[in-house]
Amino acid sequence: MKPVLNIQNLTVSYGQHVVLDAVDLAINTGEIVGLIGPNGAGKSSLIKTLCGRIKPDDGHMNVGDVHLKHGRARRHLMGMVPQDIALYPHMTGRENLAAFGRMANVTGRELRDTIDKSLRAVGMTDKQNVRVGAMSGGMKRRINVAAAILHAPKLLIFDEPTTGVDIPARDTVHRLIKSLAERGLAILLVTHELEQVESLCDKICLLAEGKNLISGPPPDVLWQVYGPSRQTVIRLARSPEPEFIKALSGHGFEQAELPTVWQTFRNVKDVGIISRFLASTCTDKAIIREVLVRQPSLSTLMHHVEHTGELP
């Protein structure tokens, strides 16, 4: 099956600074792909390049059968849901959709039908004549999405759609994303919320310092990086003494995000290390608040990449 979005070897630089270095990415119909990475990884540059706001130095980027060079035509096939509520607050939901529809060259009866269809898709038919300024957060998010699908794009880009959003509005957005993918849209989800990525996305693309470090379905990515390893985490009640640190290090633990959090990655068969450590070495049992043995998550992976810029 031919991907809706097919990016190959995309390279973008600002002067001497390379912000995207030979990035590859493909999204198929009905697929949700999460674009993740630390700040400055190149996510925004990739979106801007997709939207035609940055000219790439090299590479191929096709949306459907339309090549990167045909900016206008390509953008007909894309919709964008910005992080902010990109709507005119003094206009009703329907008036907003009509305005954005005309700006996307949809007019007349086709526009009316498209607006109705978009409103139905986001479940806002009964609230279409409420001014956006008077809508709840969830309603605004829905209209925000409806405005992006007016021209029936093949690819829909969500740029941090739930950042700073309350839980009901976030759930609304999640349901919408799922529902739109089920309708056949290819979806690129740019986010920092990794739980959202694990639960929603069919694939991820992890960027760091402009490079695509790894991509694929989240479980495959984690298996590729960590294999059968389990993450063992010890949370301490207080910062440990040097002697205790020496003992932790001797058992392969390294400090995680805080001085009171230590972790090690061992094969699932080797988790007995914890009981051996606790039994033989750790004499001050009161210092241990919590011991966890778990599969590494995308958060674990991201934490590592944020600090090192590389895969573990």
Binding site: G52, D84, A86, L87, A99, R102, M103, A104
Partner: protein, 364 residues
């Protein structure tokens, strides 16, 4: 597409009652106040541009002409073959603030030997010039010359209108452009709102380009500005007896031209600023400065030469020239071709510049 942008801006204006009042009620009101105050402006030492003709060979009068020519405190233009009609034309076209024709012996007060050719919107220049001549004559020969002057208007149809009417005419253009600029700046701030809440991102992710977006805004702001300027013309006609009915098409052109340049300038300011707060500050500063230098607050002849030269780079100068040329100097549309060129080409140029800058900023 342009219609859609137009609709967005129209609803924004229509649903903001404060902005609506500001746009359509306040201009006429403020114009009336400005006109009432400034039409009686007077006093002060001015560096005047004066043109002079000498139509007598009486030695005392020739001597006075030479003394005035040598006087550094006047910018005096003099050609030996100029007649009174040449002087009238120069004053009518605003090339000089006031004119002077010496027609007889200054030692004989009757008939008046000195004719002062004036533009009634610059009465203060007449008073200053008379005072200056009296002083020169007193220094020269101990003469006083209070009764030696005859005032002649350089403007057509002056017999039907007193001096105050001419000052009112001046402020038709002066007030219109001031309000058009403020109003356009307010309207253009929508661009900043769009940029701030990512509406620009959404629009530009679609098939539409920056020129069309700004073109829609330009069309809306120009139309609203034209209506605002027309309202001021109506107030001038209804309450100040300014004769406008025989020049409606030309005045429409002046309103449109002034609105076009205001709209382009406002979009340019919006494209150069990053936030609403910044835009408000820059817009207020720019409009007040342009209005002060361009003659919207104080007539430009009361300013020093260098400031008058700078004033030519403001929209205010050209808008005032358009309205005053039509209403006071009796110039035709063809006579004012350079003015129309600046107003309309300036509007188009500022729109294109705003588009280029916005396009580049959106790529950052």
């Amino acid at each position: 597409m342009i219609g859609s942008v137009f609709q967005v801006m129209w609803l924004r204006l229509w649903r903001d009652r404060g902005a609506l009042i500001l746009a359509f009620v306040l201009p006429g009101f403020i114009f009336a106040i400005f006109a009432a105050i400034f039409s009686n402006a007077s006093g002060g030492q001015l560096y005047l541009r004066v043109s002079m003709s000498l139509e007598t060979d009486v030695p005392a009068s020739v001597e006075l002409a030479k003394t005035l020519q040598a006087d550094d405190s006047l910018s005096l233009s003099f050609e030996a073959d100029w007649s009174e009609s040449d002087i009238r034309e120069r004053v009518r076209l605003g090339q000089d603030d006031v004119g002077l024709t010496i027609v007889g012996d200054i030692a004989q007060p009757t008939p008046p030997p000195i004719r002062v050719i004036k533009d009634s919107s610059r009465d203060i220049a007449v008073s200053v010039l008379k005072g200056h001549i009296q002083q020169v004559m007193a220094n020269q020969a101990g003469q006083t010359a209070t009764a030696m002057f005859e005032d002649i208007s350089a403007l057509p149809g002056a017999a039907n209108h007193g001096p105050d009417d001419r000052s009112v005419i001046y402020y038709v253009g002066a007030t219109s452009i001031l309000f058009l600029l403020f109003s356009a700046m307010q309207g253009a701030s929508l661009s900043l709102e769009e940029r701030h809440n990512s509406i620009s991102d959404r629009i530009l992710a679609g098939p539409v380009g920056t020129l069309k977006i700004l073109g829609g805004k330009f069309a809306f702001l120009t139309l609203i500005g034209t209506v605002q300027a027309a309202l001021i013309v109506v107030v001038a006609w209804l309450f100040f007896d300014v004769p406008v009915l025989n020049k409606l098409p030309a005045l429409g052109l002046a309103c449109l031209g002034a609105a076009s340049l205001s709209a382009g300038s406002a979009l340019l300011v919006a494209s150069l600023t990053d936030s609403l707060a910044q835009m408000n500050t820059v817009a207020t500063f720019t409009v007040l400065l342009a209005s002060a230098m361009g003659g919207s607050m104080v007539p430009r002849f009361m300013m020093p030469d260098w400031l008058q030269a700078i004033g030519m780079f403001t929209p205010n100068y050209w808008a005032i020239e358009a309205f005053y040329g039509l209403l006071a100097r009796g110039q035709s549309v063809a006579d004012l071709l350079p003015v129309w060129s600046v107003l309309f080409c300036g509007g188009a140029a500022t729109l294109i510049l705003a588009t280029i800058i916005s396009h580049r900023m959106m790529r950052l």
